[in-house]
């Protein structure tokens, strides 16, 4: 009975993570992260990802403060925030967030405040979306583990 549940959960997990890749939420860098997770650091991915989301929240908050003033926006500051965010998202494989960051940076380079605000909104949306998705994923992982199963390796090539 248990093995059936585990098998179902594992399939569900696989489907879910594949869908995340297919919908462009994640890229291979996330696979890289998952490869780094081993007995020595069983929660590595979750730790990195939560650090990433905390970082996102902080950076987005900072940037929105910078962009709030319509007449005098410190684009340098915003740019540095975007750079950080881009680096982080690229590191964790948050593909959609990274794509928005690229557009964001372009807006920033030409000091387009409107564009920046739009991108900021988008990036906020994307990271929150990803956060929910990954939370679901981690929940599934937990369920598999509790059911005594192992997390299947998913290769996206």
């Amino acid at each position: 009975m248990n093995t059936i549940v585990v098998g179902q959960l594992q399939r569900q997990f696989q489907d879910y993570i594949v869908s995340l890749y297919q919908q462009g939420y994640l890229d291979n860098q996330f696979t890289e992260l998952r490869k780094l997770q081993d007995e020595g650091s069983p929660d590595f991915v979750a730790e990195v990802v939560s650090l990433f989301f905390d970082d996102c929240a902080k950076l987005i908050n900072d940037m929105s403060t910078s962009l709030e003033r319509p007449d005098h926006v410190d684009f340098k500051q915003v740019d540095s925030g975007v750079h950080q965010l881009k680096g982080s998202s690229s590191s964790v494989g948050a593909r959609r967030v990274k794509s928005v960051c690229i557009a964001f940076k372009e807006c920033c380079d030409v000091q387009n405040r409107e564009g920046c605000l739009r991108c900021l909104q988008q990036v906020d949306y994307e990271y929150k979306m990803l956060k929910t998705k990954l939370q679901d994923l981690f929940n599934l992982e937990q369920q598999i583990l509790q059911a005594g199963g192992t997390i299947p390796q998913v290769s996206m090539n």
């Binding site: 490869k35 780094l36 081993d38 990433f52 970082d55 750079h83 680096g87 590191s91 372009e106």
Partner: protein
């Protein structure tokens, strides 16, 4: 009565006269606007009126003439007279009718009376003595008496014989009496009416008075209408002399105007125009309107709308013009303002749309370029992996065929890499991202390095030479990286198209070229005297004795992707971007790149660039630590050396024990004992290396190089930034370098060195070195500011079995490197405080000079660094690997140029990291 008359008149005269727009009060004459002046008979009245009531100016003596002689005047007068006559006729006719009526009534009355009298006559034949009828008979008698008085002639009464009773007669008499009374009454009334008619007749009998009254009314009306109108009216004769003028606000007196022409009265703008216009109307005989702006002393600048009509006399000849002007200055100003506003609006709109278009195009272009750059970068990363692996593969044991194939693979890969680098460079220049740096550098060294690098991969029997005139400053300020790039590009081009003979670089100071004369001082500044900062123009010729370029190919030589001919492209390969980049770079630096060439004789590419000459302060600062050494030298050192030559020694056998020269991978030292001739080491940027007399350098055959420092100066040999250009140090040529100093004492003292270095031997050396040194775990430093990146990289390192130290920015990295020695540095490019490129440069400068002066200059904390300065390391060049994001600002080219050894593109993966560690940690 008047009204009645009027309507009648209009009905009857409507063929001749238009119906009037004027109020009825004004009178019937209203259909002509100028009929005020009409009465032909009595002009005195008009004169009085005009003069009394109006401030107008009119030549009244001429007006009658005018009215008499012109068509208008005549028709007006005729009309007036006709009206008057008709009025009179009408009055007469009415009176006659009245008279006729009265006559008829009288006749009737008479007839009746006669009848009554007849009746009475008959009655009178009756006896009179009827007492009852006394009174009546009396009355009858009286009446008869009266009747007889009035109508004596018509008394032919016949008396009827028959009669009735007395009562009958009485009654009859009474009724007759009543009739008589009525008749008498009627008669009286008629008489009254007659009197009345007579009176009316009398009033009609004074036509002049009536006309005058009408005229006065009309005049008053006109005056009422016109009193505030900004209107000038006038009449001018054939010679355009004023005969009459009406002006509400006259600024001139009558005698100043009448009899004169416009030109005689006014002066200024518009006067002539109006005169001409009037004349034109007069000639054409057609009324017309025109707007004329006058600028006169009299009333300033005013615009008038002028209406001019010609006036004809009875014979149909033109005798002058009527003229009417209205001031419309305000309207014109308003209108012009509106027009201007509209025009401005249109212009602004046009500009706006133009701007939008431009912005759109620019954005599109930028996007396209960014796209290209991004793509190129994306291609480059995996490609450099391919090429790198191929190179590693080439170090393994391969048979001949495999090696040949691999060589083709590597050279093709290199070509694509170069193409991509070129594209990135071009797009950087074009999008303005390319930043120029101002750094101090020694032109002689640059030339030497470029030649040396070229010589290192030379596969032909060419002589490479460098010639620098004495007046070229030892140190100048400019963007050395770009200048090197240009030189390297031109030299490699020259070598490519030259099969034998020589290729060289010649540097000389020239006076300011004409294309940049507006800026910069004259270039004759003496640098050696250490004067303040001045500019100097240096001309650099890169010449060869190659195949040359046909004249018709010269124009497109600097165009992108163009080569002299398709044939050449096939034969010699290349991207066709090199010269375009050179030209753009030179122009970016404010210079000019030109070419002269003759087919089969060779080409010379010349670029002229302005440089700042380093100030004396900077110079001495930099030289302080070496000054005692250089001062003691009686021999000139390589800083002033002006001639280099590199000759190929193809096929020469690798000579045992010979010193190794010009290999970027191999730290090499040449043993010098007492020879005054200094070895010119291409990769030594610092004179101390060469002037240190007691340096001992051993070169072992194929083995690892040990170096010992006997003096405090660092003997570390830095690798040139050109290592990359050499294609990762692949070195197939056997070469010898002959170094000579233009000022060296004897030519015989030239030291010739030959070396053969292959990749395999060099790699073995490196391995040997690491094996000897590294028994413990390698120390790795990660310089990265992003926490998440650090976390990921650290975890990856852990998986690979390594630990890392972390520095969060360039300054921390420098401090860490200063504190302990590392075997590998992974350096993020874009960081706060101090970025990876700068940090790397400072680290390289430390490796070269043994001190952190450059870093301190750059603002890195002085105390920390100075305290540690004693600790001089004699390690090899520290491998620094860049971690780049794919942006324009972080190109790998730049990484190499700044002294980095390799790069990993972000995001870092296990595989990339593993490869990197494999390559740099052994």
């Amino acid at each position: 009565m008047v009204c009645e008359m009027e309507t009648d008149q209009i009905e009857e005269m409507d063929v001749e006269v238009l119906s009037s727009m004027w109020p009825e009060d004004v009178g019937t004459e209203a259909d002509k606007q100028f009929n005020v002046e009409k009465p032909a008979g009595d002009l005195d009245t008009l004169k009085e009126v005009t003069i009394e009531e109006k401030p107008t100016i009119a030549d009244l003596t001429r007006l009658p003439d005018l009215l008499n002689s012109t068509h208008q005047g005549t028709s007006q007068l005729t009309n007036l007279v006709k009206q008057w006559e008709y009025m009179q006729d009408n009055a007469v006719r009415l009176l006659r009718e009245e008279l006729k009526n009265l006559n008829r009534q009288r006749e009737e009355a008479e007839a009746k009376e006669l009848k009554i009298i007849e009746d009475y006559k008959f009655e009178s034949n009756e006896p009179e003595n009827v007492p009852v009828l006394d009174e009546t008979s009396d009355l009858f008698r009286k009446f008869r008496q009266k009747k007889r008085d009035a109508l004596i002639d018509s008394k032919k009464i016949e008396i009827d014989e028959e009669f009735d009773t007395v009562a009958y007669w009485k009654q009859k008499a009474l009724s007759l009496e009543k009739m008589l009374e009525a008749s008498t009454e009627r008669e009286r009334r008629l008489v009254e009416k007659l009197h009345e008619s007579l009176k009316t007749m009398e009033s009609h009998a004074a036509p002049v008075q009536e006309l005058t009254q009408n005229l006065k009314r009309a005049e008053g009306f006109l005056h009422f209408i016109l009193q505030n109108a900004p209107i000038v009216m006038g009449h001018q004769d054939k010679d355009l002399r004023y005969l009459f003028i009406y002006n509400k606000y006259p600024s001139l007196r009558e005698q100043d105007i009448l009899g004169k022409t416009d030109v005689e009265i006014f002066h200024g703008g518009g006067v002539k125009e109006s005169e001409d216009f009037k004349r034109e109307v007069l000639e054409k005989g057609k009324a017309s309107k025109r707007e004329i702006t006058f600028t006169t002393d009299l009333f300033g600048s005013k615009t008038f709308l002028i209406y001019v009509e010609p006036v004809y006399n009875k014979a149909g000849e033109k005798i002058g013009i009527n003229y009417m002007g209205m001031e419309v200055t305000d309207q014109v100003v308003k209108r012009e303002k509106m027009a201007k506003l509209r025009e401005d609006n249109a212009v602004r709109k046009a500009m706006e749309s133009e701007l939008n278009k431009t912005i759109h195009i620019t954005e599109e272009t930028m996007r396209a370029k960014q796209m290209l750059a991004t793509m190129s970068h994306e291609i480059r990363s995996p490609l450099s992996g391919v090429v790198g692996m191929a190179e590693i593969l080439s170090t393994t044991k391969l048979d001949k065929e495999q090696r040949q194939l691999l060589n083709v693979m590597i050279s093709s890969g290199d070509l694509v890499l170069q193409l991509i680098n070129d594209i990135l460079d071009l797009s950087k220049v074009e999008s303005g991202v390319m930043k120029l740096e101002a750094t101090k550098f020694r032109p002689r060294e640059v030339v030497k390095h470029v030649l040396q690098t070229a010589a290192a991969s030379l596969k032909k029997s060419l002589t490479l030479e460098g010639n620098i005139t004495d007046d070229v400053p030892i140190e100048v300020v400019g963007d050395v990286l770009r200048i090197r790039q240009i030189l390297t590009n031109l030299i490699s081009n020259a070598i490519k198209f030259t099969h034998d003979g020589h290729v060289g670089i010649k540097l000389q100071v020239i006076s300011e070229p004409s294309f940049a004369r507006d800026n910069a001082l004259n270039a004759d500044a003496e640098v050696d005297n250490g004067l303040t900062e001045t500019s100097v123009w240096i001309r650099c010729d890169v010449y060869d004795t190659g195949i040359g370029i046909p004249e018709n190919a010269l124009p497109c030589l600097f165009k992108k992707y163009m080569q002299a001919s398709a044939d050449h492209a096939r034969k010699y390969g290349g991207t066709g971007l090199g010269l375009a980049i050179c030209k753009q770079l030179v122009e970016l630096m404010g210079g000019q790149l030109t070419v002269t060439s003759r087919v089969n004789e060779g080409s010379t590419f010349t670029f002229i660039l302005p440089y700042k000459v380093a100030t004396s302060d900077d110079y001495s600062d930099d030289q302080d630590e070496f000054s005692d050494m250089t001062d003691h030298q009686s021999e000139p050192d390589d800083t002033t050396e002006g001639y280099f030559q590199f000759k190929p020694l193809l096929g020469s056998i690798y000579s045992n024990g010979g010193p190794a020269i010009s290999n970027g991978f191999l730290p090499h030292k040449v043993m010098l004992t007492t020879s005054p001739i200094k070895l010119i080491n291409g990769f030594v940027a610092d004179p101390s290396n060469n002037t240190g007399q007691s340096e001992i350098v051993q070169v072992e055959n194929g083995g690892y190089v040990d170096e010992t420092k006997l003096e405090t100066s660092s003997g570390h040999c830095p690798e040139s930034a050109h290592q990359y250009e050499n294609g990762n140090g692949r070195c197939f040529s056997k070469e010898s370098e002959s170094c000579s100093s233009s000022q060296a004492s004897s030519e015989g003292g030239t030291l010739e060195m030959e070396s053969e270095l292959t990749v395999s031997s060099q790699r073995e050396e490196e391995k040997a070195e690491t094996n000897l040194k590294e028994t413990s775990k390698p120390k790795i430093l990660l310089v990265e500011d992003n926490k998440i990146n650090i976390m990921v990289a650290k975890s990856m390192m852990k998986q690979l079995g390594h630990t890392m130290d972390i520095a969060n920015n360039g300054v921390e990295a420098i401090n860490a490197i200063n504190r302990s020695s590392y075997d590998l540095v992974l350096m993020d490019v874009c960081m706060p405080v101090l970025d990876g490129l700068k940090a790397t440069r400072l680290i390289r400068s430390y490796e070269e000079s043994g001190n952190w002066n450059a870093a301190i200059e750059a603002g890195v904390d002085k105390d920390i660094l100075e305290n540690e300065q004693v600790c001089v390391r004699s390690t090899n060049r520290l491998p620094i690997i860049a971690m780049t994001a794919n942006t324009l600002a972080e190109s790998s080219e730049e990484c190499y140029a700044n002294g980095m050894d390799s790069f990993i593109s972000k995001p870092v993966t296990l595989q990339k990291l593993r490869e990197c560690l494999q390559q740099y940690l052994h």
